[in-house]
Symmetry: D3
Subunit: 238 residues, 6 copies
């Protein structure tokens, strides 16, 4: 039995509230159950130095937890003077995941920064971030297309992410904190609409797993992402 | 005429949503118009080194802007590796303001950290932070009293803050961003219920001002704070 | 009775020794009693990036305490790798105070940096810094005018600063360390010749204060600044 | 055709030179073709703070590239003052991978640090690091068992890592730099002797891939790791 | 001919003003011509971690240039967030030089920190720092002996430093900035009263030098230090 | 008797293995007994800002110890976020030493960076670094001359370094760790072929020394460097 009483293949309630802040070109407050992340998409009319003059754009992500997003307060990274390895790893994953679905030439020589700030954490903050980042990106690109700054849609597909794991011997979908901190294996899948994989990361915690285990986690992730794609669709339609 | 159409002594709408996050001992999302700050109060059963073994507590504040709280995206301080002078100045002000109304011996040897994270900025983020911090602190202390960890209420008074300024020659209350960036003088007052001053900071921007000017700003601040005290009262009653 | 035996409205002896270092375009060693600050004004023929090409200049300040300026040795900020919040707050105040009396267009596209290094501290280091910074600035600008690099005097007024506070219930002027560390309220006023206010900062320490208290402090500050303006005048005349 | 002329399932030559440095409790210089990594295992009779007094040990990894390990010189991270996100991500992976095969209670309250310094890079530096780290760890633990400091062998299994990718449409094993920089997908597998998975990370670069693609990469990795386990065995036997 | 008109073996005027600041246990403002350094000695009743419980003391030095000590303003190291290699090299030299004449057991388990802050630079700041540091140390130790905290004098000898160099083919003593920036070789000698060497550092700048050259520089340094020892003696006698 | 059984004027075995890494323009693994340093020379077609447009080149050095080069593991400077004073002092010495033998105009507007990474330490790492850096530099310059990028040889002489010290009252050559940590005096000489001195640094550790002592150390260094020059010659001939 899962601590939350959910079935093994049952997602938490997904809620996506778009337009949460007024300044960003795209934004949403995304919830996977009690995990809540504020994502903003900022369009900047410049690209990183290594891309200057190459007629292509860039998409990147940043990630942070508010100090009291968690059970006990964590130190502020700005006060400590550096970002943790975990933060940097997640930022790199967010950027790669979104870049997997964007045609950089169609985007043009501009950059979109996806800021993912975790307001409340209950497991799955990186997957909620990626999922919400796609929504914020979609809204920001819509605005660029409406204003005529972009001619052809640079977004090639939806992208979403979900965590899976082996909890007390059973593969389960969308782990919350109680499960995550006790899982034998922990995986994050970033999938494209249609089912292709942008990124798969699976780590043994207590026990290692075999090929069959990896496949079962992947199949759960597919089921979860189908629901997430529907939630993304509904959010950007509003 | 003020850009917002408000009367010179008219505050923006104040909204205080308590219990915004589930982990913190006290929390609220406070809005002064379009300025929105998430404040959490975290109780820690330890004190800073300089207070160890002295039978008294400590209250401190931290402050940050989310990168896209503003019109154009700002760099993340955690990525730059240090907090700006402005951030540190505001953090120090938040801490001093709240400590002005807390009896540290009654609080006992524990620390309460007030994290103020600006979700959206439209002028007055430091005053909204102080105001919301009192609410979060009140809720956290209530919890400590209910559980019997604290016997006597260590909070001696309400404390609230508001900005005033001289805009196109007229003293006005609770400046929004449009006014703030064009004001001749800019002041922040931190007041106690009853009208005493915890902190007064007034800076000439375009033109300097005289004693009479300072007094007019202080009187506006008193009017504003009376409304804020009422909003605080209502928020903690809920 | 004040620990120093001074009357409530009595300043410490002010001494300003100009030309203390040979390289700086302007310099002085300023003393308010036992508080001694070395101030240098450095003229640089460039402006910060945000002002480039705008035909205006900039004035900024930096502040530091020598490690053993105080009763017990403090760590060197360069060794710790960052400036404290207090240091940054004071630097920002010095810059704002001096900019309040300079016409940036008349200064032309150049920067003047005012370095305030506290040799010995006995209360009031920030007010001595601002006061001495005006003298160093005046000397540096005189040199620019003599050489013909500046045509019209960009300095619009004298500016000076002094601290006041409520010590054992009595408002007193120009606090030394003994008073400062025991005062109920602590205020710093930056005033222009003629009496206008460039900056007012008043903080309750032990007890809060009311409007009347604020006014009494401001009036003491005016009296003190009149003496300081005379000392500045004499110093730059030499 | 692969640039190196290798068959799709052909590993580069693996060479493991043990005892490369005299001070470390275990060490080796491991080569996967032109990729060369110096790995040392350092035994420290203390554990990180979060494990103190818990009667268990810890295994952790650190990773660095010498500045001229690559085609063009990279800046030294010590000179830049911080480790890149990539470095931290790899360090975390090395630590997790080795911890997956160590029984921390049998290790006892001590820490083993695995330092992986890349002398020359030609693709696959992280997989060579993990593979060599197991050898250095095995040698260090042997020494602890010989001296009687450890009674029961805490190492539960061999662990090795290899990269795979899709290069010009074909799944290939053990990518060198030329392939790695042009691959459509890039995966790193950390496997246990027997075939179980400790960690799987697969990233789409140019094109995404499907479940079948993921499985083909995993099977190549298994083939590669079987050869690596043999090389590890031979190295520690010497 | 030397730019200053001095004879090759002629020192600049040495001036040592003791008791320059009131808080430090020992202090002086030392001048070698236009080079002026403020040195303070701070006695701390603790030792660095590596010496705790060993019944011996420690002497260490810190060094800094005020930003406008030089012809053009340099950035403040505290603002840059790190000390330069030059600063650290000089600090290490100051500490080593003073430790060469102190019996750490007689000093007892306490630390004396020698802060050398350059007020004005005209060549030879490190040698003036070492020379002045001995004076400040002597005064601080005298105070400890007078108060009975130290029984036996831990200072075994005077120590002083001077620079020499080869300027336009001629060995010269006590280089000023004009000479220093054009010298073919540049040496710093730290000598003990009696003539023994604590430290010798000689660097070829334009041209290398031979054994004879090194000896001639050393002999000049001896002559210079004899005058410096006399100045130190006179300063501490006052 | 020396711990190693060597005669007072006996060097350790010197071994220089050129071409140790394939990417660098010049490289070697140099050993002085058990001290082993990997040196690479990287040619960059740019110069530091202060030399731009001056038709001359630059040579600089960087130095680092691998964490377990020593008896007990040291922290990684990249993880600590800054380079130690010792590291910076050695880097500066390496750069100065090599620049002493290079004609910067003949080098042309390019920079050569000499990275010295200590693989294993047993005393004398800085002198081995300088000696090996000359070999790597020679090889890199040879390549530039062969390709015609440089017309005239910019290297004016060989340069090498060796340590000497006073061990149990006897001057000895090329100290290993056991001697170095117990020596009364410790000196490093950087000499040019022919015997001229580029740099001499001699420090008293336990006891100070006199002129005669300094000369005896210098003469030992000359003997040692003659052997080192021969080893350099042989290495670059291969």
């Amino acid at each position: 039995m899962r601590p939350s009483g959910r079935a093994p293949d049952e997602m938490r309630v997904i809620d996506i509230q778009t337009g949460f802040t007024k300044h960003a070109e795209g934004s949403c407050l995304i919830s996977f159950g009690d995990t809540r992340v504020l994502v903003t998409a900022s369009v900047e009319e410049r690209v990183p130095p290594f891309l200057r003059g190459k007629n292509q754009g860039w998409v990147t992500g940043e990630y942070s937890m508010l100090p009291r997003a968690t059970h006990t307060r964590g130190s502020r990274e700005a006060a400590k003077g550096k970002q943790s390895g975990r933060t940097q790893e997640i930022q790199r994953l967010i950027g790669r995941s979104l870049r997997a679905v964007v045609d950089m030439e169609k985007l043009g020589e501009r950059q979109i920064v996806l800021d993912c700030d975790v307001i409340q954490a209950d497991g799955g903050t990186r997957t909620a971030s990626i999922t919400g980042a796609w929504v914020a990106l979609r809204l920001a690109v819509n605005k660029l297309m409406e204003s005529g700054q972009i001619k052809e849609d640079p977004i090639m597909s939806k992208v979403a992410a979900v965590s899976c794991g082996i909890y007390q011997g059973t593969p389960v979908l969308d782990l919350d904190y109680d499960e995550d901190s006790n899982a034998d294996a922990d995986a994050n899948f970033v999938l494209l609409e249609g089912g292709n994989i942008a990124e798969a990361q699976a780590t043994a915690e207590g026990a290692t797993y075999d090929e069959e285990g990896l496949l079962r986690l992947l199949r759960l992730a597919r089921m979860g992402c189908d629901q997430i794609f529907a939630a993304q669709e509904e959010a950007v339609r509003k």
